[in-house]
């Protein structure tokens, strides 16, 4: 029993204790579910891949939340403007000795510390991917649930529409949408300063920079528009296979309301594939939004978007900007890798075949 | 153990043990099992899920893959040309020649046995061509004839159908046709009717009976359905926990079972003519075959268990007339 599992198990026990205090008898009713959950945690923690991924995700989350506060340099100040004598030396490579006050990990073409920018960039990358995935999955799940559960004409129409969206290359559509949304969004933000400041605080950016915020918004709105169809498809498929198993009919025969059926019976059954999909999608969304920024569709300088930083570095590549590409690229790599590793381990957790062999070795129980 | 067989005996398995080396432990799937099959007879191998019946028969036909290993045993088989071979000792190539040719094997689920990308005719012709030197056209013609033998209507059309175009019952018939294509001496059927509905079950059993007569085959039927056993079997072997618990001819097994497991098994099948209040079942669950210790595997669930049952393997008691039981209850002190 490795320590991380023990920690997870302790958490579950504490949670169970709490629920039991609130409503006595809860523990008995849910004992098997708790054991199942503990088993899942056990299988997950016994995977080196999963644990590595989890560590990376935790680091990513930490940097995303605290990055803007830890970062030691403001992103919207261009040192080159204050010290024009640096012009010929920029971008400056990393130097670990005495560099006349220049940053240890190198600068970009404006003289800003690259590492500080990258630390700030985590927030943007993470918030983008989370908003994209959460929103599009919610939309997709809703459509999939409705379509699969009610069937008939509703199903036909919704699925035709979803198929139409799926027939298109996602990146291309995202690019096109992003471009056309930009202008509308820019006008919208200019007219609504409150909205602008909300967006700015979420991303830890300057609220006066409305055009760039509009670009940011356009990228992730475009990605959301393109992202939801696979969720609709998957959820609908799961709902259909759950329906086939017959206990939905039984529930209906017992007179359960539609809402109860959806939440209590259907949703828990489709949770596992969804969870895996969402985790992998965090990685893909991070890379996709970075790709759109790389192509120039996202925010422009001085915003510390990781994709943008790399694309700006492209002009000076390789002798004069290789460190920028390494630092920003590694950041993106670590973020995506973290999610991908966790997703891979989760997939194994929910795959009955691989679970079996680990289950045989474990003896799990729930303590009061 | 001898190396000859009486004239009319097709198969004689002695002292077969199969172990699986997994990282959960060593699974004693089959321990010291034995079996006899004579010409033209139907032998039933009965037991619960997980008792080792399938592993037993797979071991005889060389279908056990690592991490499984045949530890000991001998399986004498009389080939068509009269020679007697020990199946366990054959090389992979030699036993491959016997499979599908002299010994045929059919499985429980016909839908997953058939390759969805190959037609019914493809399956049968392939099996024929693998073992006999005839032309492709001749093989396909034989396939049509075989489909007719297994009572599939319109065989000329059906021979070109893919599995998904056939019903469950028809698929099982195609599987049977594939199995008997080379007129084997022994047909091993692993739960051939479990996945079918009752009326189709009866048809398939009749079919097997008819084919057995026509092709002069022996049938080794693996099943957990005692009704099927009563209908079709001549002799019965009861397996539990990887061991043979009892064997006798079918009448004796049903009228005078000696092993507690057999007795309980029979009591668990309700008699439709008798009115009963409760369904009987055997308490407890399937034994854990991992790292087995000596002792009778049925002891934990046996109502007559004694101290010695938990400590030592039960002896082989010969009750005469081919009736053998492995139980301490019947041992002479």
């Amino acid at each position: 029993m490795n320590p991380i599992y023990r920690f997870g198990s302790w958490l579950i026990d504490k949670y169970a204790g709490l629920r039991e205090k609130i409503s006595p008898g809860w523990l008995e009713k849910n004992r098997s579910k708790l054991v199942e959950t503990k088993l899942s945690v056990y299988v997950f923690t016994s995977s080196r891949i999963g644990l590595t991924g989890l560590a990376l995700v935790i680091i990513t989350l930490f940097l995303a939340i605290f990055g803007p506060f830890i970062a030691w340099e403001p992103y919207d100040v261009y040192p080159i403007l204050n010290k024009p004598e640096l012009a010929g030396k920029l971008p400056h490579p990393p130097c670990f000795g005495n560099c006349e006050g220049l940053p240890m990990f190198g600068t970009d073409q404006y003289g800003r510390d690259v590492l500080s920018l990258v630390v700030r960039g985590f927030r943007i990358a993470l918030v983008m991917s989370i908003i994209i995935v959460v929103t599009s999955s919610l939309i997709g799940i809703l459509i999939g649930l409705v379509s699969g559960y009610f069937g008939g004409l509703v199903d036909e129409i919704l699925m035709r529409f979803t198929d139409m969206m799926l027939a298109f290359p996602g990146l291309i559509l995202a690019i096109a949408f992003s471009l056309t949304l930009r202008l509308s969004l820019r006008d919208f933000l200019m007219a609504n300063p409150t909205a602008t400041s909300i967006v700015a605080s979420i991303f830890a950016l300057n609220p006066k920079d409305a055009p760039n915020l509009a670009n940011l918004l356009s990228v992730f709105l475009a990605l959301i528009l393109v992202w939801w169809p696979p969720y609709a498809r998957v959820v609908r498929g799961s709902v259909l296979s759950v329906k086939e198993q017959g206990f939905i009919e039984a529930a209906k025969a017992l007179g359960l309301s539609t809402w109860k059926i959806l939440t209590r019976h259907i949703f828990p059954n489709i949770m596992s594939p969804l969870l895996v999909m969402v985790t992998f999608d965090f990685a893909t969304a991070t890379l996709s939004s970075a790709a759109l920024s790389f192509l120039g569709l996202g925010p422009q300088p001085p915003v510390p978007d990781l994709g943008l930083i790399i694309s700006q570095a492209g002009q000076y590549f390789p002798e004069r900007s290789w460190w920028i590409v390494i630092e920003a690229g590694t950041a993106l790599l670590l973020i995506s890798l973290g999610w991908n590793l966790v997703g891979d381990a989760l997939r194994d957790v929910f795959d009955p075949k691989t679970r079996r062999s680990i289950e045989l070795k474990a003896k799990i129980e729930v303590r009061k | 153990m001898s190396s000859t067989l009486p004239e009319n005996q097709v198969l004689a398995v002695r002292d077969l043990s199969v172990r699986f080396y997994t990282y959960a432990g060593v699974v004693h799937a089959v321990s010291q099992a034995y079996l006899d099959v004579f010409e033209r007879e139907t032998v039933a191998l009965v037991g619960e899920t997980g008792c080792g019946k399938s592993v037993f028969t797979k071991a005889i036909t060389g279908l056990i893959d690592p991490p499984g290993r045949i530890e000991t045993g001998q399986a004498l088989f009389r080939k068509r040309d009269g020679t007697i071979v020990d199946l366990i000792k054959l090389s992979p190539e030699e036993i491959r020649e016997i499979r599908g040719n002299e010994i045929a094997y059919i499985f429980q689920d016909p839908s997953s046995s058939l390759d969805p990308l190959y037609t019914a005719g493809d399956h049968i012709a392939e099996t024929i061509l693998e073992h006999r030197p005839i032309t492709k056209d001749e093989a396909y013609q034989e396939a049509v004839q075989l489909l007719r033998d297994v009572l599939i209507p319109n065989p000329e059309v059906r021979v070109k159908n893919y599995p998904h175009e056939l019903s469950g019952g028809m698929r099982q018939r195609v599987v049977i046709a594939t199995a008997i294509a080379n007129k084997p001496k022994l047909l091993i059927a692993d739960e051939p009717t479990t996945n079918l509905d009752v009326t189709v079950q009866a048809q398939i059993l009749d079919l097997l009976r008819g084919l057995k007569e026509k092709y002069k085959m022996s049938l080794l039927l693996i099943t957990h359905n005692l009704g099927v056993v009563a209908e079709t079997a001549d002799r019965v072997y009861v397996m539990y926990g990887g061991r043979i618990a009892e064997t006798a001819d079918v009448n004796t097994i049903f009228e005078a079972p000696m092993h507690p497991y057999t007795q309980l098994l029979l009591r668990a099948v309700p008699n439709p003519l008798k009115r009963i209040e409760r369904l009987e079942s055997i308490p407890g669950t399937v034994p854990n075959l991992i790292d087995m210790k000596p002792g009778c595997p049925f002891a934990p669930r046996c109502p007559f268990a004694m101290e010695i049952c938990r400590k030592e393997d039960p002896p082989r008691i010969d009750l005469g007339n081919g009736h053998v039981v492995h139980c301490w209850l019947h041992a002479k002190r």
């Binding site: 471009l179 056309t180 890379l287 790599l333 891979d344 | 990308l117």
Partner: protein, 352 residues
């Protein structure tokens, strides 16, 4: 046969998809931008009379059905004009599309060369070190940002080791182009096919005996091809591995063994079953390569459709973006159709 009716049915869904593509293109062109004129014309200042002329020409003030009709006509007849060059967009597309196809072919070659052998080995040696490595390789492949990988490969193979070129794309000569054109015009059906294939320089040049083009193309394209292969190779390897393992442990293989079939025959059964899904994935991968070429072409400076789109983006050249979106969508839809047909050829169950 079932295949014919499946083909027919599949084509029936093709038409709505094309209409859908037109619809979405229309939405992008006219509906979403708050001020379409600004979007189309760019952010330059224009005097009112030119603005009016443009408004009439592009029907910005007309009702939506007129706009839609106008767009369809422009797209399908290929007369959408590139405002910067003044020529129809279609001209550039015709020149650049074959280049993108070449890039996709190279990418596919490397993906298959890396992915399939690795997948087979991983399946054969399940749970070994190689299997683990393949898993990690696949995870890295889908975690590394494409453009970062491209930059580093350029660093390695262009800057430090001059093993590739980064400018221009070899093309066959004009006389060769003329010869191909004449084949198209003289030989029916087959001639058109030959001409179409020949449009891709690496195929067209050998047809005229201009083999130097081939070697030059290889020098130019191998690096981006390798990059694309490294990105998808791991993923393909995992699919191959899982597909093979599923096929080999299936009951039908057990039955095949029980029938006494030789190992060779059994492999044929297993491979046929395993490769049906693999072929589909490869086909979709190719579609992805065609439509996802934008970033690769930008970094490797390959003058294909993707780079054209990118230029359209940076210069806010709306007609290019519209035409590009439409074209890529059609390509994607067609590729999906082809993949579905190939799958139906292999797996008879799908034909219903």
């Amino acid at each position: 046969m079932g295949l014919g009716s499946y083909l027919l049915r599949r084509l029936l869904t093709f038409l709505p998809s094309v209409i859908g593509a037109l619809l979405i293109t229309y939405l992008i062109a006219y509906v979403i931008p708050t001020d379409p004129v600004r979007a189309w014309v760019g952010e330059k200042l224009m005097d009112p009379s030119t603005l009016d002329k443009l408004k009439k020409e592009y029907k910005f003030d007309a009702p939506w059905y007129e706009q839609f009709a106008f767009l369809i006509e422009k797209l399908l007849s290929g007369t959408l004009i590139d405002p910067i060059r003044g020529t129809p967009v279609v001209q550039q597309v015709a020149q650049r599309f074959p280049i993108t196809v070449e890039l996709a072919i190279f990418g596919m070659l490397f993906t298959v060369a890396i992915g399939i052998p690795l997948g087979i080995v991983a399946a054969a040696k399940k749970d070994s070190v190689i299997d683990f490595f393949v898993r990690i390789f696949a995870l890295f492949g889908s975690s590394i940002p494409a453009f970062v990988l491209y930059y580093f490969l350029i660093l390695a193979f262009y800057v430090y080791v001059r093993a590739s070129l980064l400018a221009g794309v070899p093309f066959y000569s004009l006389s060769c182009a003329a010869r191909l054109d004449s084949i198209r015009d003289t030989v029916p059906v087959l001639g058109y096919l030959v001409w179409a294939v020949g449009q891709v320089p690496i195929f067209g040049a050998p047809m005229c005996g201009e083999f130097s083009v081939v070697s030059e193309t290889v020098v130019r394209m191998w690096l981006p091809g390798l990059a694309l292969g490294l990105l998808s190779g791991g993923f393909i390897a995992r699919i191959v591995r899982n597909s093979l393992l599923d096929a080999f442990t299936s009951e039908s293989i057990l039955f095949a063994k029980a029938r006494g079939l030789t190992n060779q025959r059994i492999w044929r059964h297993a491979l046929k079953n395993a490769f049906a899904p693999i072929v589909t994935i490869l086909g979709l991968d190719f579609a992805g390569l065609l439509t996802g070429a934008i970033i690769a072409e930008t970094v490797f400076n390959i003058p294909g459709m993707g780079l054209y789109m990118y230029q359209g983006i940076t210069r806010l050249n709306f007609p290019i973006i519209i035409a590009g979106t439409f074209l890529f969508s059609i390509i994607y839809i067609v590729m999906n159709l082809i993949v579905d047909l190939i799958y139906a050829l292999i797996d008879p169950r799908v034909r219903y």
